[in-house]
Symmetry: C2
Subunit: 257 residues, 2 copies
Amino acid sequence: MREGGPGPSVTSKALAILGAFTPQKPKLRLMEICRATGLKAPTAHRLLGELVEWGALEKLADGQYRIGLRLWEIGSLSPRSRTLREIARPFMQDLYEATRENVHLAVLRDSQVLYVEKFFGRRSIRIPTHIGERLPLHPTSAGKVLLAFSPPAVQDQVLRSRLQRFTPRTITRPGTLGQILTEVRRTGIATAVEELTMGAFSIAAPIVDGEGRTIAALSLVVRSSPNAPDRMGPAVRTAAHGISRMLAQTPDLDIGA
Amino acid sequence: MREGGPGPSVTSKALAILGAFTPQKPKLRLMEICRATGLKAPTAHRLLGELVEWGALEKLADGQYRIGLRLWEIGSLSPRSRTLREIARPFMQDLYEATRENVHLAVLRDSQVLYVEKFFGRRSIRIPTHIGERLPLHPTSAGKVLLAFSPPAVQDQVLRSRLQRFTPRTITRPGTLGQILTEVRRTGIATAVEELTMGAFSIAAPIVDGEGRTIAALSLVVRSSPNAPDRMGPAVRTAAHGISRMLAQTPDLDIGA
């Protein structure tokens, strides 16, 4: 029942166009969209017209396209961002006020960390994370938490993949990472010491739903210092417990992956 | 060149399905989607399958559909939420810390206020606004700011529409609202005194881009009290100026409607 005979359906072509936009490439020209999607220019042009008309995309005066505010509005209805964030934000605000450091809320997505909420520590270390962006799991504390409590198949896949090096301190040996994940499961806390960015220390704790599943991680990113773990560990753990308790009390939550 | 002969194209049908989800109805069954879109069940079912496969929607065990995290991720790329929010958030944090009150960032959307960012005043009055939700313009301070600086055609349309009453203090006479808008343009500040929610006072200032266009409003919502305007006006104005200054310094901004 697919239109246009064999090959991708019209819907999947329109969705492929939306999928061509990334945090690295938030504005695209027609030819870039054709390259990213494999669509021919007339097809892409027609679909772009419909996406612009509906408000999923906006066309700029210089001919580039960008994601439209209407898509943001509808995307905001995703419970895995909306419900989780609404419950987590007051606790994140408290953690921010108590520490004045960077506070992150992250979920697992395609074997990566997806940051769904963030408070900037204005006087803290500047780090290159943005809401809606992803990072690899292994060099981030939130990623280690999410990985440690993810299904064995996900862990196997990550441990078998090439672990990219970001700094001299990035953990790239699967055996070492595996031992760390065991330790994270035992202690309920993960750290990353200059493994993604030199000078940055991050510490994360799991956020657990009413059934005991880890559905997110809360992390603090601060300037690396010898006493950072002692100073930050109890705070991030306390806030993560608070969010988990609220999640357990929320009926009809259903925000798992 | 539309598939399936005359009538709505496949793309517009798929988009209509996405548009059926609202803050009031974030989960929908197949039959509700058919009712909202006018699509026949087999067509809707097939398109839903494609939207789920791509991750725009998620299907729950009970058969209901909801917006998927992937759509949130792509929607987050909208510059009118992403760029504006990234620039505004540090100033909003500062305003929250200085006042401990509810801080809102709002844009104009289809003659309504759309809230794109919010800090909850935990010890402040509880108000029923959520990120990604809309309210009418006339009973909110942010709405009055956005309306006062919007094109005359938008103002005419709102002033000619029925102004819904929410409380005994809601301004429902177009003449009165028109005078208030003139005053907002003169002073650069708008208030709403128990016009949407009894007990709540809100005050808003415009956020202006480098070309002098009002592209958003920043507002504080506090418990109504005689000294609230004096206490909150300078703070919200200061933060709005800070955001506007940063916007003017940001090259290639292009976040206007």
